[in-house]
Symmetry: C4
Subunit: 369 residues, 4 copies
């Protein structure tokens, strides 16, 4: 499995050696996986097996190459061990080695290439908010585990009961406990294929109980996750926002305690350059503070620039709630969004802030006369 | 497809050109869709195809007509572009053009008319609380998306695994990855048609894992939505109520900070004229403040009128909780409802308010002696 | 259908004319419904049709009788109209008239008696916490309705799509939109009977989308209900507790504002006489205040009586958390339960209360030396 | 069924007579249950029936033995009655007696041994967080029960309706109300086996309603559990943490009210000896207080020991959030974890604490220069 080493390509990959997923990688994953699927579709494969094979090999080469580049990159930084033991490192290794190893071990090609499904795992680190989900699962692992144990216990007891009740009537489907286990899982998850169904009156009563407890198990599960998630969301938002808040002079006036409050009220928004934030004439239900970057207010006569620390969109919250002008970013910006509700609560708690905003609003109205 | 332009009709529609749905439109949607359904029911259609065809055409004409009227209306207001790019505008256009275009493109009529199902989309903007749901979906889109990606990844890995495990035993159902994908979706959503079922022991173990993670995915989903929804509900109620609170002199005494509290305690209620709010002898668990409109208290001897800013229903919260008299609106009114629980908390926090209410209650009792 | 009027029976029923369900009524409902079920079980019915018929008639007579008694009772109190228009009144009327009317109208007896299933409705008013559930459904009706509308819209669009995609391949199952609607509902609720299953690739893609949005719809639904329920639970508990709190001298010291806090911390418990509340040697994680009734502490040497306003079980919260003695009610009692967590928060916020409790605890320890 | 009494074994078990599950017991449960499963797998059993029988008997002997030992142990402590009436005692008794009794009563061996499934119940008390789940179920039992009653009522009404609508078309599946009940449960739980499916238009409408209310019932259920669970989690954590907090001098400064706050912010973590808590170079989002035990900070030059009451990991929260050194426990320890979010809120509310931490941080930085 020879592999040419074009410097250009090397540079290109080296440049992104550190990052989790490059655009190229996304393309490779998609192409590779689609080809793998086609490989299993006999008609499609017969029609275009040359192409499919070529694409699969191309993707494989790419991933092997990417992996090697990363290994070298990490080795140079002396983080080789850390990388290889990291989940990202393992996924890269799997993606690069699984198929070749299988082929070398003499697996039937069509089967070996199925392993290229592992390439999709490369996408995982890129999933938005995955960290958040993981934290919930970790923190709530205790209760979640106990629900799982309960689940398994119900499955087990139920399947033995059904085996006892149904084995004589349906020896082929309830002929052993493992067979009954299959039924129990299918039933307790309320999937209900219908391939295995109790027919004796008693068997059906047990089944009914299993279904109902299925709802219960499920409800507990959801309840736990909902609880954990609510907490996590608040936390995540707080962390994102905290840094920025202190940077906005407007809030500097507040004591640290008040800032902690305010942080819970704000939402952070990351925007690329030249993005429209406010559309003239639209309903307005929040105001914005510029934590980083800059925006341009598109007023009738002129264009006004606002930089870090400035705020805008307050007009709509004070009087009529119609946006008076278009506003869009001029560079990559981080904005803090203050919702109408929190705006009012905040103004109520801190009259001084209310005055600052009113004053500014007045000034602007006069100016734009 | 010529279209007569009766001035009367024009007026009628023009009058409602701005509104989303007129009564006529609701009728048209219902009639049109029902006819479309009948069109597909061969026996019904054979029996009354003349009528069905006529109704379908009538509805189509109506929608085309409505669309044109709106176009003209918007054009006059110079909001043509805004309207045509708005979702409402697109739905109107689809409703008016889909079927004709299909017919013109020579689609078989019975098929072309199926497109009239798009008419139901006109109902969407009228759904109560839809805005609220959309906000939840937008704000929680991050986590929801990541759950979706996890969902897809599980589906994909599972289907490849099953394809590998089952293809030899059941070539017709697990003969390719796409076929296995179908099984995976049906299973992970716990739908479980039972048309495709793994039979090998390993295949069933994988399936069991898929079902259980199905519950997990679902639980996460619900957890996220529940979290988002809780926040949204509070916000929505606050916005509805805030404006009105400040208009009620009773609360004016409170400082702005306290008003923010109170707003969280109140619920807004919009009522048409001549609606009974309180029925004599019923259990009372809340009191009312009149933010707009007026009510009439039906006392033994006389009828007492209460106008904006007044409150009523406090008696039931102070002593015995039986309503003492019928109360009903005399005109369209907006009421603020203070629940028994919040009433007590509020009275506890603001003794002055408690006194005001007690005094008023006493006065009324004397008066009505 | 003549009906003897034994004074004894009349008294018996009259005594309970006001109440929703008497023990007798529960028996009648159970017996009646079971007999109705047996009526449909041919073997069972052939075996004992005489008995079944007799029981059914007996129950019917009972319900007719109960209804008449209530009518008279209400008429005397001049609340006849209120009663007949109330849900309880309607259910009573249905239970009494449905079967006879059906028989009179010449319905086949076996069918007519099926209507006796309506008797189960009499149980509804007795369901614990139903009021709470209803309030949730009412308050959240807005969002719930909009989810329902979305549900129906998805069902409708999906079924038309499937009809279009599958009608040629499976004319018998997807031969008309109504047929496809059946499939859509079965799928969107993730029930998945498997009697109607799409087979075309496109049809399956649509189906997959329907299943996934099924999870979404369901998630929203649950989210809304969870939100509403959380609020309702707090409210319900507050109302149950508030009255009692003010009656306990221990809390009288606190200002009204503090009492509102405390009320949120306490849980009310209604107990019959001679019920064991605390078992010696058990783990203790809460203390009790007697709002009404009395308890007996079973100490080594003697039995100590505690009456209204007294508290007990605090020892376990102060030092070692093992219960030191058995405590049981001597008459019907209402207790306020203060959980360990809230106990600590409360003591922290109100040192004076902490002292009162410590003092009392010390006194008791000395006394019981 | 004679049973030898080796002193060694006796000691071994006696040592653990008090505990719920010993390692040996876990092994016995696993082995026993697996053998029982094999017993039902004819091929497997024929292959190794000698082994299977032997293992089953061995496990049985173990459990009988364990039970007797516990009985004696409890008898000596005079807690025999308490033990035998406790759930643990009942489970032990069942595990020891069920199979023998069945065999004595002359049940067919293969059937009698099925009762060994009861052995899994011994695992229950060991499930983490089960107490928490049980508390939720107990506290929310009211609403949960009413949902259950509603569930049963819907099932019942629906099945009678379907029986009436479908009995003529499908006498074999809807031929009696009990048969229809089976359908109703399968449908309302959205399991949907598909073995019984309504075919008449009206029957399908009823079925659709049942499915939709199935979602509703389920939603309520989940909502209730989610609500209860949220409360329980907070409580559980508070109890775990409270004791420890007061032991940490750092917090002693705070008044009791503030301590109650802090307790809600902290999370308790129990760690075995020689466990790595902080890995150098990792992201840091929390700091630790040592409630019990001791840790070792692995600094470039030296190893620093920290004992009870000390805190560490604050550096990452103050400046750059990279961990500066490895930290691991030297003995079994209980740590209090303060999350970044709560850290900031806390520092904001209590500037004095902030100073203490800053001072300490400075001191350490200088020291480690």
């Amino acid at each position: 499995m020879s592999k040419p080493m074009f410097p250009a390509l090397a540079q290109f990959v080296a440049a992104t050696a550190g990052r989790n997923m490059t655009k190229a990688a996304y393309v490779a994953v998609t192409v590779g996986v689609v080809s793998m699927v086609l490989l299993t579709l006999d008609p499609a494969y017969e029609a275009a097996h040359r192409w499919v094979d070529f694409l699969l090999w191309a993707c494989l080469v790419y991933f092997v190459f990417e992996w090697l580049v990363r290994l070298r990159h990490m080795a140079r930084q002396g983080r080789l061990g850390l990388y290889m033991s990291s989940s990202a490192g393992l996924v890269d290794a799997l993606g690069a080695l699984a198929v070749p190893v299988a082929l070398v071990l003499g697996a039937e090609p069509k089967t070996a290439w199925l392993l290229s499904v592992l390439w999709v795992l490369k996408v995982v680190p890129g999933i938005p908010g995955l960290r958040q989900l993981r934290r919930v699962l970790v923190l709530e692992s205790g209760p979640l585990l106990s629900v799982l144990v309960i689940f398994l216990m119900v499955v087990f007891l139920a399947s033995v009961a059904e085996y006892f009740l149904e084995r004589d009537v349906q020896p082929q489907t309830f002929g052993s406990v493992p067979a009954a286990l299959w039924w129990a899982v299918v039933t307790l998850t309320t999937t209900g294929y219908g391939d295995v169904v109790p027919v004796t009156p008693l068997g059906r009563m047990v089944a009914a109980l299993v279904m109902i407890s299925g709802l219960g198990v499920f409800g507990l599960w959801t309840g736990i996750l909902a609880t954990g998630f609510a907490a996590e969301t608040r936390r995540d938002n707080f962390l994102k926002t905290w840094e920025s808040v202190s940077k906005v002079p407007f809030f500097a006036a507040l004591g640290p305690a008040a800032i902690a409050d305010v942080t819970h009220m704000l939402r952070t928004m990351e925007l690329p350059a030249r993005t429209m934030i406010i559309r003239k004439g639209a309903q307005g239900d929040c105001m914005y503070f510029i934590a980083a970057g800059a925006v341009e207010v598109d007023l009738p006569g002129k264009k006004v620039q606002l930089g870090e620390g400035a705020f805008f969109g307050e007009m709509a919250l004070l009087g009529n709630n119609m946006r008076g002008a278009n506003v869009s970013t001029t560079k990559v910006s981080r904005l803090l969004v203050l919702d109408l509700v929190d705006f009012r609560v905040l103004m109520a708690r801190h009259p001084d802030l209310a005055e600052t905003i009113d004053a500014e609003a007045k000034r602007r109205t006069l100016e734009n006369k």
